[in-house]
Amino acid sequence: MVSSLRSLGYAISRTTALLVVALLILGVLVAGIHYYIRAPPAAPPTPLGLPVQKITIITTTEGEDPVRWAAVQAIAAEWRKLGFEVEVIGLEASMVDKKCYYEWDFDVCVFGWGARVDRLDPNLFLGLITTEEIGVKGEGANNPTGYSNPEYDRLYDLQRRTLDINERRRIVFEMQRIFHEEAPRYNIYHKHAIVAYRSDKWANPIIMPGAPLFNEWQPYFITPTAGGMQELIYGSNTEPDTLHPIKASLIFSWYVLKLVYDPLVRLTPEGKPVPWLAEEVKVIDPTTVEVRLRSNLRFHDGKPITADDVVFTYKYYIKHEFAYFRPYWRNIEDVIKVDDLTVRFKLKTPDATFMTNTLYMIPILPKHVWENVDPKAVTEEQLRELLKVGSGPFKNPVWVRKEYIAVEVAPEHFAYRGVRIGDFEVPPIKVSRIIIRIYGDLDSIVSALIRREIDATAVSILPGHVDVLARYDYIRVVKARNFALDADLMFNVRRSPFDIKEIRQALLYAIPYDHIINVILKGYGEKGYIIAPVNSFWHNPDVKTYEYNLEKARELLAKAGFKWDDKGRIYYPVGFTPRKQEDP
């Protein structure tokens, strides 16, 4: 038996070898014949220029964002109809940034910019195509398209220095017009945020653009159906990087930290700045801002909040070069205490975003706690102690990584029983504790909501979950418009044909917007802008938009001199030398 097995082995090994060789020969033959047949290209009947090279679209993977992936696939299919050869490459998020932002090695790149309340101010998004933001290759500034327009740059500078809000709005409108007309980058759609909460336990949540349920105003507005105070439990699939206020560098971390530490100014649900710890913010001259504090403020340990703490906090952040806040503090020349409750900020240049960004983002830390702390050498235990003395509406954060974060209400806070700021009415807090549970993925959050393990979703769930949750009468799904740039499409204008404005426009006319919104987003989205319609004060309603229109796209291409061969493949105009990206 053993010997027969051996012979079986021999035979198999011999036959396998023979088979492999035979297959190899066959493969080479087939490939050769194939090449021979395809090799001689048919001479074009009409004079054509050079063929347009293959367009490579770099975007994030399907796992990162299924909608963006499907949308890019749909766009590629339409562009192919125009005669372009298109390839889509899906990379992990950080590698997309590396390729596009660091190496500028792309034709078209599609990623996005998240919503953050301070981004309702148009400064960041409009800055995405300025010359200054092109920066240096390998450093990763915000404008990898390479688009440069002196007029646009001038307006950008001007809007930032213009303190009169209506005048600034006029400039911002004009910039949006140029942005959409020139189209070096274009946001294809805004997804609607879809969130859900338990309507048997809570009522009347406040819905903010960009942060529908999980936002800093929610504890004031959401009301327990049973009355009294209740624990509000969110479910999330992300968590803070750290709660260390001089290290935390993620949006999510600051959502939590903003509960524990108060800034001088907060933004209303509509994005309007209102004085918060400040009683009043006065612009004395374009580079001097004076802030007067409320008189009844206390830290969580009972010590009063004074001008000293404000001066200390700002200087502390500047001294320790806290990178995450650098965009906010780098324009500050000096912070001066005027009296116990008054602080004066000296700015290097006039800055229209000082109220909405700087004063809103930087929280006030207690001087007596942090004074002698070296932020780099804080251990976990020390941090827990440090966080006990905050200035915000919630206190005593407890955090078990990957499991939950909890903060409890601070009854000593000035807005605990509600407060009225101008015509903005803040009701009393009705949440005794906020708990954020961390789950593995969105699907687990949905399961948890159905099981009533959580009260509300902190992050946006998927259109596919809407009909599932509709079956449960104790769950209410809320949809909200958003201003995030969910599919920020960039053309590399260093390369032909994207250096030609009409070609960029033609490609934008060949995007199936309705298909993306109705089929891929299932209707939970809308056409994209650089400043979204939900940001109604800054959004320019007369801005040019692109509709899906292949005819118009072909017309624009033809007008630019592009031609098609009989197979429908597109060619450059005769005599046109395509621009290649040169390395500086």
């Binding site: 992990e92 998020a93 950080s94 940034d97 590396k98 932002y101 660091y102 910019w113 998240g114 953050r116 981004r119 960041l124 933001e133 920066g135 240096v136 450093e139 990763g140 500034a141 915000n142 439990i233 990087d241 750290t242 260390h244 290290k247 560098s249 993620l250 949006i251 070069e321 990178a323 995450y324 650098r326 965009p327 780099k376 976990e380 407890v398 078990v400 990584r401 990957k402 499991e403 939950y404 909890a406 504790r433 708990i435 549970r437 961390i438 789950y439 593995g440 993925d441 687990s444 399961s447 948890a448 159905i450 099981r451 393990e453």
Partner: protein, 325 residues
Amino acid sequence: MIAYVLRKLLFIFLLFLLILTLQFFLFRLAIPDPTIIYIREGLGPEEREIIRRSFGLDRPLYEQYLRYIVNFLRGDMGYSFLYKEPVSSIIIDRLLNTLVLTIPATLTAFLIAFYLGSYMAWLRSSLFEKAFVATLSVVHSLPLFWIGMIAIAIISVHLGLLPAGGMRTPPYEAESFLDKILSFDFLKHWILPYTVLTIYTASYPTLLMRGSMISTLGEDFITTLKAVGFSERIVIAKASRYSILPLITYMGISMGLAFSGSVAFETVFSWPGVGRELVIAFYNLDYPLAQGVFAVMALAIIVINTLVDIAYSYLDPRIRRGTSG
């Protein structure tokens, strides 16, 4: 013998050092700049430069390497870029979370495998045995995460019996890890993933044990034992003792895998384990954390392999002779 142990230890140490060096350079070659992730947070080149400096990434590579190795040998695995905390504390926490699930599951699974496998070999060709083999094969042929998804859908969501994920119902206060797991609440969260994992882990070794047992039962000495008139129980006991070797080998591998957890499984059950943490570390380009996790896993596997070697030599005298001579 002492020389043998010392040689083995030195070998382990050198192997470990090699692994550390390899991954240090691999990560740095594969992932150039970990501050890429802050582009989305709106940080410009200058801000990210400050962050790089604070991580010591502006230093020359050899200096970073030496510092890393020296610190590592002193027990300091560095700071996580993402969490801004010492890597070791993160790893210990997450590893315990994983182990509290995988070690009991693996142990139970192999206990089941040993007894059930022997029993099934004894009942060979009966209808019961065939049905069982079929069931186990089916369990083993399906993806683990898929079984988990269906278990959650039925038991947690549809019947509402057990929590859908996580380790404890928050908020809870726990002084230590032991404090955290010694509670009924933990048990409620733990039982479903534990059961699924146990059944899944047990499926293959049971079949393995059964196969091994069948072959042992075919050996001459068993026939002799039976012929001499030993009772059935004693014959089974003897036979299973001789059939356990493949199971031990496989158990060594499973124990090693227990330290790495399963990403898909941990995701489905929202279990804050080490596998998911490692994937998160990769996505956030947090290579001190990734290196740390890898190093700990490697160490665990090496140690377990050594233990398996020892167990083997204890159970199979032939190997003992082989090593000493």
